[in-house]
Protein backbone atom coordinates (compact mmCIF):
# COMPACT_ATOMS: atom_id res chain seq x y z
CA UNK A 1 0.00 0.00 0.00
CA UNK A 2 2.74 2.46 1.01
CA UNK A 3 4.80 1.43 -2.00
CA UNK A 4 1.81 2.13 -4.24
CA UNK A 5 1.29 5.57 -2.69
CA UNK A 6 4.99 6.29 -3.03
CA UNK A 7 4.97 5.23 -6.66
CA UNK A 8 1.91 7.38 -7.37
CA UNK A 9 3.53 10.35 -5.62
CA UNK A 10 6.73 9.97 -7.65
CA UNK A 11 4.72 9.74 -10.88
CA UNK A 12 2.72 12.81 -9.83
CA UNK A 13 5.88 14.84 -9.16
CA UNK A 14 7.45 13.67 -12.42
CA UNK A 15 4.30 14.70 -14.33
CA UNK A 16 4.37 18.08 -12.59
CA UNK A 17 8.05 18.49 -13.48
CA UNK A 18 7.46 17.61 -17.14
CA UNK A 19 4.34 19.79 -17.16
CA UNK A 20 6.37 22.78 -15.93
CA UNK A 21 8.99 22.15 -18.62
CA UNK A 22 6.22 21.87 -21.23
CA UNK A 23 4.70 25.16 -20.01
CA UNK A 24 8.09 26.86 -20.28
CA UNK A 25 8.48 25.62 -23.88
CA UNK A 26 5.05 27.00 -24.76
CA UNK A 27 5.86 30.40 -23.27
CA UNK A 28 9.20 30.49 -25.11
CA UNK A 29 7.64 29.50 -28.43
CA UNK A 30 4.76 31.97 -27.97
CA UNK A 31 7.18 34.80 -28.70
CA UNK A 32 8.05 33.25 -32.06
CA UNK A 33 4.50 33.07 -33.42
CA UNK A 34 3.63 34.46 -36.85
CA UNK A 35 6.99 33.83 -38.44
CA UNK A 36 5.61 31.76 -41.28
CA UNK A 37 3.01 33.50 -43.43
CA UNK A 38 0.71 34.09 -40.49
CA UNK A 39 -0.31 30.42 -40.34
CA UNK A 40 -0.06 30.54 -36.54
CA UNK A 41 -2.37 33.56 -36.26
CA UNK A 42 -4.94 31.87 -38.47
CA UNK A 43 -5.08 28.94 -36.02
CA UNK A 44 -5.32 31.39 -33.08
CA UNK A 45 -8.34 33.06 -34.68
CA UNK A 46 -9.97 29.70 -35.43
CA UNK A 47 -9.33 28.59 -31.84
CA UNK A 48 -10.91 31.79 -30.47
CA UNK A 49 -13.90 31.21 -32.75
CA UNK A 50 -14.32 27.62 -31.54
CA UNK A 51 -13.46 28.12 -27.86
CA UNK A 52 -14.79 31.63 -27.34
CA UNK A 53 -17.50 32.60 -29.82
CA UNK A 54 -19.12 29.16 -30.12
CA UNK A 55 -19.29 28.81 -26.32
CA UNK A 56 -21.05 32.13 -25.78
CA UNK A 57 -24.55 30.65 -25.96
CA UNK A 58 -23.98 28.07 -23.22
CA UNK A 59 -22.09 30.64 -21.10
CA UNK A 60 -24.98 33.08 -21.49
CA UNK A 61 -27.51 30.45 -20.43
CA UNK A 62 -25.54 29.46 -17.34
CA UNK A 63 -24.77 33.08 -16.38
CA UNK A 64 -28.44 34.07 -16.66
CA UNK A 65 -29.48 31.03 -14.63
CA UNK A 66 -26.94 31.78 -11.92
CA UNK A 67 -27.94 35.46 -11.79
CA UNK A 68 -31.61 34.46 -11.63
CA UNK A 69 -31.08 31.97 -8.81
CA UNK A 70 -29.11 34.47 -6.72
CA UNK A 71 -31.64 37.25 -7.20
CA UNK A 72 -34.66 34.98 -6.59
CA UNK A 73 -33.17 33.49 -3.45
CA UNK A 74 -31.85 36.87 -2.34
CA UNK A 75 -35.26 38.43 -2.79
CA UNK A 76 -36.72 35.94 -0.30
CA UNK A 77 -34.27 37.07 2.36
CA UNK A 78 -33.47 40.70 1.63
CA UNK A 79 -35.49 43.56 0.18
CA UNK A 80 -34.13 44.68 -3.15
CA UNK A 81 -33.05 48.18 -3.93
CA UNK A 82 -30.77 49.62 -1.33
CA UNK A 83 -29.72 46.35 0.27
CA UNK A 84 -25.94 46.31 -0.04
CA UNK A 85 -25.48 42.69 1.02
CA UNK A 86 -27.30 41.37 -2.04
CA UNK A 87 -25.04 43.36 -4.39
CA UNK A 88 -21.98 42.12 -2.53
CA UNK A 89 -23.20 38.53 -2.95
CA UNK A 90 -23.88 39.09 -6.65
CA UNK A 91 -20.40 40.51 -7.27
CA UNK A 92 -18.67 37.89 -5.15
CA UNK A 93 -20.37 34.89 -6.71
CA UNK A 94 -20.79 35.98 -10.33
CA UNK A 95 -17.73 38.13 -10.92
CA UNK A 96 -15.14 36.82 -8.53
CA UNK A 97 -15.82 33.20 -7.59
CA UNK A 98 -18.28 31.01 -9.43
CA UNK A 99 -18.28 32.89 -12.74
CA UNK A 100 -14.62 32.32 -13.64
CA UNK A 101 -14.68 28.73 -12.35
CA UNK A 102 -17.87 27.73 -14.19
CA UNK A 103 -16.56 29.35 -17.37
CA UNK A 104 -13.31 27.38 -17.06
CA UNK A 105 -15.21 24.13 -16.44
CA UNK A 106 -17.29 24.67 -19.57
CA UNK A 107 -14.22 25.45 -21.69
CA UNK A 108 -12.34 22.46 -20.28
CA UNK A 109 -15.30 20.19 -21.08
CA UNK A 110 -15.69 21.58 -24.62
CA UNK A 111 -12.35 22.78 -25.95
CA UNK A 112 -10.01 20.92 -23.59
CA UNK A 113 -11.56 17.61 -24.60
CA UNK A 114 -11.48 18.56 -28.28
CA UNK A 115 -7.82 19.59 -28.16
CA UNK A 116 -6.67 16.51 -26.23
CA UNK A 117 -8.59 14.23 -28.63
CA UNK A 118 -7.28 15.97 -31.74
CA UNK A 119 -3.64 15.95 -30.62
CA UNK A 120 -3.64 12.37 -29.37
CA UNK A 121 -5.11 11.19 -32.68
CA UNK A 122 -2.41 13.16 -34.50
CA UNK A 123 0.30 11.47 -32.42
CA UNK A 124 -1.12 8.01 -33.15
CA UNK A 125 -1.37 8.63 -36.90
CA UNK A 126 2.25 9.95 -36.85
CA UNK A 127 1.15 13.42 -38.00
CA UNK A 128 3.29 14.96 -35.26
CA UNK A 129 6.34 13.04 -36.49
CA UNK A 130 5.53 14.27 -40.00
CA UNK A 131 5.73 17.88 -38.74
CA UNK A 132 9.06 17.10 -37.07
CA UNK A 133 10.36 15.43 -40.23
CA UNK A 134 9.91 18.63 -42.24
CA UNK A 135 11.44 20.76 -39.48
CA UNK A 136 8.27 22.22 -37.99
CA UNK A 137 8.29 22.37 -34.20
CA UNK A 138 4.96 20.85 -33.03
CA UNK A 139 4.95 23.03 -29.91
CA UNK A 140 5.28 26.17 -31.97
CA UNK A 141 2.92 25.13 -34.76
CA UNK A 142 0.22 23.19 -32.89
CA UNK A 143 0.35 24.06 -29.20
CA UNK A 144 1.10 27.79 -29.13
CA UNK A 145 -1.90 28.84 -31.29
CA UNK A 146 -4.19 26.70 -29.14
CA UNK A 147 -2.60 28.04 -25.96
CA UNK A 148 -3.11 31.67 -27.02
CA UNK A 149 -6.58 31.03 -28.44
CA UNK A 150 -7.85 29.23 -25.35
CA UNK A 151 -6.29 31.76 -22.92
CA UNK A 152 -7.72 34.79 -24.72
CA UNK A 153 -11.10 33.05 -25.02
CA UNK A 154 -11.32 32.14 -21.34
CA UNK A 155 -10.47 35.71 -20.26
CA UNK A 156 -13.10 37.10 -22.66
CA UNK A 157 -15.71 34.51 -21.65
CA UNK A 158 -15.09 35.21 -17.95
CA UNK A 159 -15.81 38.92 -18.51
CA UNK A 160 -18.81 37.96 -20.66
CA UNK A 161 -20.09 35.63 -17.91
CA UNK A 162 -19.89 38.45 -15.35
CA UNK A 163 -21.66 40.93 -17.61
CA UNK A 164 -24.37 38.43 -18.59
CA UNK A 165 -24.86 37.21 -15.02
CA UNK A 166 -25.14 40.68 -13.52
CA UNK A 167 -27.35 42.01 -16.33
CA UNK A 168 -29.41 38.81 -16.28
CA UNK A 169 -30.04 39.24 -12.60
CA UNK A 170 -31.55 42.66 -13.27
CA UNK A 171 -33.72 41.29 -16.10
CA UNK A 172 -35.05 38.53 -13.85
CA UNK A 173 -35.66 40.86 -10.94
CA UNK A 174 -38.17 42.75 -13.09
CA UNK A 175 -40.51 39.77 -12.71
CA UNK A 176 -40.13 39.73 -8.93
CA UNK A 177 -39.93 43.36 -7.96
CA UNK A 178 -39.47 45.92 -10.77
CA UNK A 179 -36.39 48.03 -10.13
CA UNK A 180 -35.12 50.95 -12.25
CA UNK A 181 -32.02 50.00 -14.19
CA UNK A 182 -30.19 53.12 -13.06
CA UNK A 183 -30.73 52.23 -9.40
CA UNK A 184 -29.68 48.61 -9.83
CA UNK A 185 -26.56 49.28 -11.88
CA UNK A 186 -25.50 52.29 -9.79
CA UNK A 187 -25.65 50.20 -6.64
CA UNK A 188 -23.91 47.34 -8.40
CA UNK A 189 -21.05 49.57 -9.56
CA UNK A 190 -20.67 50.91 -6.03
CA UNK A 191 -19.98 47.35 -4.84
CA UNK A 192 -17.89 46.28 -7.81
CA UNK A 193 -14.30 47.21 -7.07
CA UNK A 194 -11.35 47.24 -9.42
CA UNK A 195 -9.83 44.45 -7.34
CA UNK A 196 -12.89 42.26 -8.01
CA UNK A 197 -12.49 42.82 -11.73
CA UNK A 198 -8.75 42.21 -11.55
CA UNK A 199 -9.29 38.95 -9.62
CA UNK A 200 -11.79 37.84 -12.25
CA UNK A 201 -9.45 38.62 -15.16
CA UNK A 202 -6.45 37.01 -13.41
CA UNK A 203 -8.51 33.89 -12.81
CA UNK A 204 -9.57 33.82 -16.46
CA UNK A 205 -5.94 34.17 -17.53
CA UNK A 206 -4.63 31.46 -15.21
CA UNK A 207 -7.55 29.10 -15.91
CA UNK A 208 -7.11 29.53 -19.67
CA UNK A 209 -3.42 28.64 -19.41
CA UNK A 210 -4.19 25.61 -17.25
CA UNK A 211 -6.82 24.30 -19.70
CA UNK A 212 -4.52 24.76 -22.70
CA UNK A 213 -1.44 23.25 -21.06
CA UNK A 214 -3.25 20.26 -19.51
CA UNK A 215 -5.18 19.35 -22.66
CA UNK A 216 -2.18 19.67 -25.01
CA UNK A 217 0.17 17.92 -22.56
CA UNK A 218 -2.10 14.90 -22.21
CA UNK A 219 -2.86 14.95 -25.93
CA UNK A 220 0.84 14.45 -26.63
CA UNK A 221 1.00 11.57 -24.13
CA UNK A 222 -0.60 9.20 -26.65
CA UNK A 223 1.70 6.61 -28.04
CA UNK A 224 0.46 3.91 -30.35
CA UNK A 225 -3.14 2.89 -30.01
CA UNK A 226 -6.45 4.68 -30.55
CA UNK A 227 -7.74 3.04 -27.37
CA UNK A 228 -5.41 5.39 -25.48
CA UNK A 229 -7.40 8.43 -26.64
CA UNK A 230 -10.44 8.19 -24.34
CA UNK A 231 -8.21 7.27 -21.39
CA UNK A 232 -6.01 10.33 -21.96
CA UNK A 233 -9.00 12.62 -22.49
CA UNK A 234 -10.59 11.49 -19.22
CA UNK A 235 -7.22 12.00 -17.51
CA UNK A 236 -6.93 15.49 -18.99
CA UNK A 237 -10.42 16.49 -17.84
CA UNK A 238 -9.93 15.07 -14.33
CA UNK A 239 -6.55 16.70 -13.87
CA UNK A 240 -7.76 19.93 -15.47
CA UNK A 241 -10.73 20.23 -13.11
CA UNK A 242 -8.49 19.47 -10.13
CA UNK A 243 -5.92 22.08 -11.09
CA UNK A 244 -8.62 24.67 -11.79
CA UNK A 245 -10.08 24.20 -8.30
CA UNK A 246 -6.63 24.41 -6.67
CA UNK A 247 -5.75 27.53 -8.69
CA UNK A 248 -9.10 29.10 -7.76
CA UNK A 249 -8.44 28.55 -4.06
CA UNK A 250 -4.90 29.98 -4.31
CA UNK A 251 -6.01 33.11 -6.21
CA UNK A 252 -8.92 33.66 -3.81
CA UNK A 253 -6.55 33.33 -0.85
CA UNK A 254 -4.18 35.83 -2.47
CA UNK A 255 -7.14 38.18 -3.00
CA UNK A 256 -8.28 37.90 0.60
CA UNK A 257 -4.78 38.42 2.00
Amino acid sequence: MIARWGSAAIKGFRDLFYGCGFFWLIIRESFKLNTHRGVGWKVVVMQILFTGVNAMAIILLIALSLGAVIIFEGAQVFSLGQNSLLYTILVTIITRELGPLLTAFIVMARSGVAIATELSNMVISQEIEAYMAVGINPISYLVVPRFLGVTVSVVALTVFFSAAGLAGAWLVVQFVQPLPASEYFTNLLLHLTLTDLAASVVKGLVFGMIIAVVSTYHGFEANQSSTEVPVLVIKAVGRGFGLLIVANILITLAYLI
Binding site: T35, H36, R37, V39, M122, S125, Q126, E127, E129, A130, Y131, M132, A133, V134, G135, I136, N137
Partner: protein, 275 residues
Protein backbone atom coordinates in the same frame (compact mmCIF):
# COMPACT_ATOMS: atom_id res chain seq x y z
CA UNK B 1 25.52 27.54 -36.85
CA UNK B 2 26.86 24.01 -37.32
CA UNK B 3 27.64 22.63 -40.79
CA UNK B 4 27.48 19.13 -42.23
CA UNK B 5 30.80 17.33 -41.97
CA UNK B 6 32.18 16.68 -45.46
CA UNK B 7 32.74 13.02 -46.18
CA UNK B 8 30.76 11.87 -43.13
CA UNK B 9 28.36 8.96 -43.62
CA UNK B 10 24.66 9.76 -44.01
CA UNK B 11 23.93 7.85 -40.81
CA UNK B 12 26.06 6.53 -38.00
CA UNK B 13 24.48 4.66 -35.11
CA UNK B 14 26.83 3.80 -32.26
CA UNK B 15 25.77 1.62 -29.35
CA UNK B 16 22.12 2.60 -29.72
CA UNK B 17 19.81 1.22 -27.09
CA UNK B 18 16.10 1.79 -27.63
CA UNK B 19 13.07 0.34 -25.88
CA UNK B 20 9.72 1.31 -27.38
CA UNK B 21 7.93 -0.75 -24.73
CA UNK B 22 8.98 -2.79 -21.74
CA UNK B 23 11.45 -4.94 -23.69
CA UNK B 24 14.42 -3.35 -25.49
CA UNK B 25 14.35 -3.50 -29.29
CA UNK B 26 17.95 -2.43 -29.87
CA UNK B 27 20.57 -3.50 -27.35
CA UNK B 28 23.60 -1.62 -28.66
CA UNK B 29 23.00 -1.21 -32.37
CA UNK B 30 25.98 -0.14 -34.52
CA UNK B 31 25.39 0.81 -38.13
CA UNK B 32 26.80 3.04 -40.84
CA UNK B 33 24.94 4.19 -43.95
CA UNK B 34 27.07 5.95 -46.59
CA UNK B 35 26.16 9.09 -48.54
CA UNK B 36 25.38 8.93 -52.23
CA UNK B 37 24.21 5.31 -52.23
CA UNK B 38 20.89 3.53 -52.02
CA UNK B 39 20.82 1.47 -48.84
CA UNK B 40 17.90 -0.92 -48.43
CA UNK B 41 16.82 -2.42 -45.11
CA UNK B 42 15.13 -5.80 -45.25
CA UNK B 43 14.03 -8.25 -42.64
CA UNK B 44 10.95 -9.86 -41.14
CA UNK B 45 8.20 -7.74 -39.55
CA UNK B 46 9.19 -6.43 -36.14
CA UNK B 47 12.91 -6.49 -36.95
CA UNK B 48 13.20 -2.75 -36.21
CA UNK B 49 13.76 -1.49 -39.77
CA UNK B 50 11.28 1.42 -39.57
CA UNK B 51 12.55 2.29 -36.09
CA UNK B 52 16.11 2.59 -37.43
CA UNK B 53 14.80 5.03 -40.03
CA UNK B 54 12.97 7.12 -37.41
CA UNK B 55 16.00 7.11 -35.12
CA UNK B 56 18.29 8.05 -37.99
CA UNK B 57 16.02 10.91 -39.05
CA UNK B 58 15.99 12.23 -35.50
CA UNK B 59 12.24 11.70 -35.09
CA UNK B 60 12.68 9.63 -31.94
CA UNK B 61 15.63 9.86 -29.56
CA UNK B 62 17.53 6.72 -28.51
CA UNK B 63 17.50 5.74 -24.82
CA UNK B 64 21.30 5.78 -25.01
CA UNK B 65 24.00 5.71 -27.67
CA UNK B 66 24.73 8.14 -30.47
CA UNK B 67 22.89 8.86 -33.69
CA UNK B 68 24.88 10.97 -36.14
CA UNK B 69 23.26 12.35 -39.27
CA UNK B 70 25.92 13.49 -41.75
CA UNK B 71 28.36 13.70 -38.87
CA UNK B 72 26.17 15.72 -36.52
CA UNK B 73 24.39 14.46 -33.41
CA UNK B 74 20.66 15.26 -33.59
CA UNK B 75 20.58 15.77 -29.82
CA UNK B 76 23.19 18.56 -30.02
CA UNK B 77 21.42 20.66 -32.64
CA UNK B 78 19.56 23.82 -31.66
CA UNK B 79 15.90 24.22 -32.68
CA UNK B 80 16.98 26.58 -35.46
CA UNK B 81 19.69 24.21 -36.77
CA UNK B 82 17.26 21.33 -36.56
CA UNK B 83 14.71 23.21 -38.67
CA UNK B 84 17.27 24.41 -41.21
CA UNK B 85 19.00 21.03 -41.65
CA UNK B 86 15.72 19.22 -42.23
CA UNK B 87 15.33 21.13 -45.47
CA UNK B 88 17.99 18.75 -46.76
CA UNK B 89 16.14 15.54 -45.97
CA UNK B 90 12.80 14.05 -46.89
CA UNK B 91 10.90 11.35 -45.02
CA UNK B 92 8.11 9.26 -46.53
CA UNK B 93 6.14 7.41 -43.88
CA UNK B 94 4.95 3.83 -44.02
CA UNK B 95 1.34 4.82 -43.31
CA UNK B 96 1.55 8.15 -45.16
CA UNK B 97 1.19 10.20 -41.95
CA UNK B 98 -0.59 12.91 -43.92
CA UNK B 99 -2.09 15.90 -42.13
CA UNK B 100 -5.76 15.00 -42.15
CA UNK B 101 -7.04 18.57 -41.93
CA UNK B 102 -5.17 19.66 -45.07
CA UNK B 103 -5.69 18.88 -48.74
CA UNK B 104 -3.13 16.87 -50.69
CA UNK B 105 -1.84 20.14 -52.19
CA UNK B 106 -1.48 21.72 -48.74
CA UNK B 107 0.29 18.62 -47.43
CA UNK B 108 2.94 18.93 -50.12
CA UNK B 109 3.05 22.72 -49.98
CA UNK B 110 3.62 23.17 -46.25
CA UNK B 111 7.32 22.11 -46.08
CA UNK B 112 8.08 24.49 -48.96
CA UNK B 113 6.21 27.39 -47.33
CA UNK B 114 8.01 26.67 -44.07
CA UNK B 115 11.52 26.56 -45.49
CA UNK B 116 11.00 29.28 -48.15
CA UNK B 117 8.66 31.75 -46.45
CA UNK B 118 9.42 34.46 -49.01
CA UNK B 119 8.82 32.27 -52.06
CA UNK B 120 6.43 33.61 -54.70
CA UNK B 121 3.11 31.79 -55.07
CA UNK B 122 4.07 30.59 -58.56
CA UNK B 123 7.35 29.16 -57.27
CA UNK B 124 5.48 27.21 -54.59
CA UNK B 125 2.93 25.96 -57.13
CA UNK B 126 5.72 24.82 -59.45
CA UNK B 127 7.53 22.95 -56.65
CA UNK B 128 4.30 21.20 -55.59
CA UNK B 129 3.47 20.32 -59.21
CA UNK B 130 6.96 18.87 -59.77
CA UNK B 131 6.83 16.73 -56.60
CA UNK B 132 3.27 15.58 -57.35
CA UNK B 133 4.28 14.63 -60.88
CA UNK B 134 7.31 12.69 -59.60
CA UNK B 135 5.11 10.74 -57.18
CA UNK B 136 2.33 10.28 -59.74
CA UNK B 137 -0.43 12.02 -57.82
CA UNK B 138 -0.88 15.18 -59.90
CA UNK B 139 -4.59 14.43 -60.37
CA UNK B 140 -5.36 14.25 -56.66
CA UNK B 141 -4.11 17.58 -55.35
CA UNK B 142 -7.56 18.88 -54.40
CA UNK B 143 -8.55 15.80 -52.42
CA UNK B 144 -8.32 15.21 -48.67
CA UNK B 145 -6.16 12.35 -47.32
CA UNK B 146 -9.27 10.46 -46.17
CA UNK B 147 -10.42 10.27 -49.81
CA UNK B 148 -7.28 8.40 -50.87
CA UNK B 149 -6.32 4.73 -50.73
CA UNK B 150 -3.36 3.75 -48.55
CA UNK B 151 -1.14 3.43 -51.62
CA UNK B 152 -2.11 6.93 -52.76
CA UNK B 153 -1.50 8.31 -49.28
CA UNK B 154 2.00 6.85 -49.37
CA UNK B 155 2.58 8.47 -52.74
CA UNK B 156 1.50 11.84 -51.29
CA UNK B 157 3.91 11.26 -48.41
CA UNK B 158 6.64 10.63 -51.01
CA UNK B 159 5.72 13.84 -52.84
CA UNK B 160 5.93 15.75 -49.55
CA UNK B 161 9.39 14.27 -48.97
CA UNK B 162 10.48 15.29 -52.48
CA UNK B 163 9.13 18.84 -52.56
CA UNK B 164 12.35 20.43 -51.25
CA UNK B 165 14.41 18.27 -53.63
CA UNK B 166 16.51 17.04 -50.68
CA UNK B 167 19.86 15.25 -51.07
CA UNK B 168 18.87 12.55 -48.52
CA UNK B 169 15.63 10.57 -48.60
CA UNK B 170 14.27 8.27 -45.91
CA UNK B 171 11.62 6.04 -47.48
CA UNK B 172 9.64 3.66 -45.30
CA UNK B 173 8.08 1.00 -47.51
CA UNK B 174 7.15 3.50 -50.26
CA UNK B 175 5.81 0.90 -52.70
CA UNK B 176 3.71 -1.10 -50.23
CA UNK B 177 0.00 -1.13 -51.24
CA UNK B 178 0.83 0.22 -54.71
CA UNK B 179 -0.27 -1.51 -57.91
CA UNK B 180 2.35 -2.83 -60.32
CA UNK B 181 2.16 0.19 -62.61
CA UNK B 182 2.61 2.70 -59.78
CA UNK B 183 5.43 0.60 -58.32
CA UNK B 184 7.21 0.61 -61.66
CA UNK B 185 6.83 4.40 -61.91
CA UNK B 186 8.33 4.83 -58.46
CA UNK B 187 11.19 2.48 -59.26
CA UNK B 188 12.00 4.63 -62.29
CA UNK B 189 11.91 7.69 -60.05
CA UNK B 190 14.26 6.11 -57.49
CA UNK B 191 16.63 5.13 -60.28
CA UNK B 192 16.65 8.72 -61.55
CA UNK B 193 17.24 10.03 -58.03
CA UNK B 194 20.15 7.61 -57.61
CA UNK B 195 21.59 8.77 -60.91
CA UNK B 196 21.33 12.35 -59.67
CA UNK B 197 23.47 11.40 -56.65
CA UNK B 198 20.75 11.38 -54.00
CA UNK B 199 21.20 9.28 -50.87
CA UNK B 200 18.28 6.89 -50.46
CA UNK B 201 17.69 5.00 -47.24
CA UNK B 202 14.79 2.67 -47.84
CA UNK B 203 12.86 0.02 -45.95
CA UNK B 204 10.99 -2.54 -47.99
CA UNK B 205 9.79 -6.12 -48.02
CA UNK B 206 9.62 -6.16 -51.80
CA UNK B 207 12.51 -8.08 -53.43
CA UNK B 208 11.68 -6.47 -56.78
CA UNK B 209 12.34 -3.01 -55.33
CA UNK B 210 15.48 -4.25 -53.61
CA UNK B 211 16.93 -5.93 -56.65
CA UNK B 212 16.23 -2.91 -58.87
CA UNK B 213 17.63 -0.10 -56.74
CA UNK B 214 19.72 -1.38 -53.82
CA UNK B 215 23.42 -0.57 -53.85
CA UNK B 216 23.77 -1.81 -50.30
CA UNK B 217 21.63 -4.19 -48.29
CA UNK B 218 21.14 -4.35 -44.53
CA UNK B 219 19.41 -7.45 -43.22
CA UNK B 220 17.84 -7.15 -39.79
CA UNK B 221 16.20 -9.56 -37.42
CA UNK B 222 14.81 -8.94 -33.92
CA UNK B 223 16.59 -5.60 -33.49
CA UNK B 224 19.96 -6.76 -34.72
CA UNK B 225 21.84 -6.32 -37.96
CA UNK B 226 22.46 -9.83 -39.24
CA UNK B 227 24.58 -8.67 -42.14
CA UNK B 228 25.21 -5.57 -44.21
CA UNK B 229 27.23 -4.77 -47.27
CA UNK B 230 27.11 -4.46 -51.03
CA UNK B 231 23.96 -5.95 -52.53
CA UNK B 232 25.78 -8.68 -54.46
CA UNK B 233 27.79 -9.72 -51.41
CA UNK B 234 24.81 -9.96 -49.09
CA UNK B 235 22.53 -11.82 -51.48
CA UNK B 236 25.24 -14.39 -52.09
CA UNK B 237 26.10 -14.81 -48.46
CA UNK B 238 25.76 -18.53 -47.68
CA UNK B 239 25.25 -17.87 -43.94
CA UNK B 240 22.13 -19.91 -43.03
CA UNK B 241 20.73 -17.01 -40.96
CA UNK B 242 20.97 -14.66 -43.96
CA UNK B 243 19.34 -17.25 -46.16
CA UNK B 244 16.58 -17.77 -43.60
CA UNK B 245 15.80 -14.03 -43.47
CA UNK B 246 15.80 -13.64 -47.24
CA UNK B 247 13.59 -16.69 -47.55
CA UNK B 248 11.23 -15.36 -44.92
CA UNK B 249 11.02 -11.98 -46.68
CA UNK B 250 10.51 -13.65 -50.02
CA UNK B 251 7.72 -15.78 -48.64
CA UNK B 252 5.87 -12.58 -47.65
CA UNK B 253 6.32 -11.01 -51.06
CA UNK B 254 4.02 -11.34 -54.04
CA UNK B 255 6.74 -10.95 -56.61
CA UNK B 256 10.17 -12.46 -56.83
CA UNK B 257 13.39 -11.10 -58.13
CA UNK B 258 15.83 -13.15 -60.09
CA UNK B 259 18.75 -11.41 -58.38
CA UNK B 260 17.72 -12.41 -54.89
CA UNK B 261 16.61 -15.83 -56.03
CA UNK B 262 20.20 -16.33 -57.13
CA UNK B 263 21.03 -16.95 -53.51
CA UNK B 264 18.18 -19.38 -53.09
CA UNK B 265 19.15 -21.27 -56.20
CA UNK B 266 22.69 -21.62 -54.85
CA UNK B 267 21.32 -23.04 -51.64
CA UNK B 268 18.77 -25.13 -53.44
CA UNK B 269 21.76 -26.69 -55.09
CA UNK B 270 23.00 -27.67 -51.66
CA UNK B 271 19.52 -28.81 -50.87
CA UNK B 272 19.42 -27.52 -47.26
CA UNK B 273 18.73 -23.86 -46.91
CA UNK B 274 15.12 -23.76 -47.99
CA UNK B 275 14.00 -26.75 -45.98
Amino acid sequence: MKQWIDGAPALTLEGVIYSPGAAPLFKGLDLTVPMGRCTVFMGPSGAGKSTVLRLGAGLIPPDSGTVLYRGLDWSELSDHENAVFREGMGFAFQNGALWANKSVYQNIELPYLYHRPKAERQEVRDAVARAAHQAGIQGQLALRPSQLSLGEQKSVSLARALVMDPPVLFLDDPTGSLDAQATEKQLQLFTELKRAGRTIILVTQDPLVTSRIADRLVLMKAGEVVTEGEFAEVTRNPNPEVVAILTSVLSQAATFSGDILDLLSIDQGDGDALK
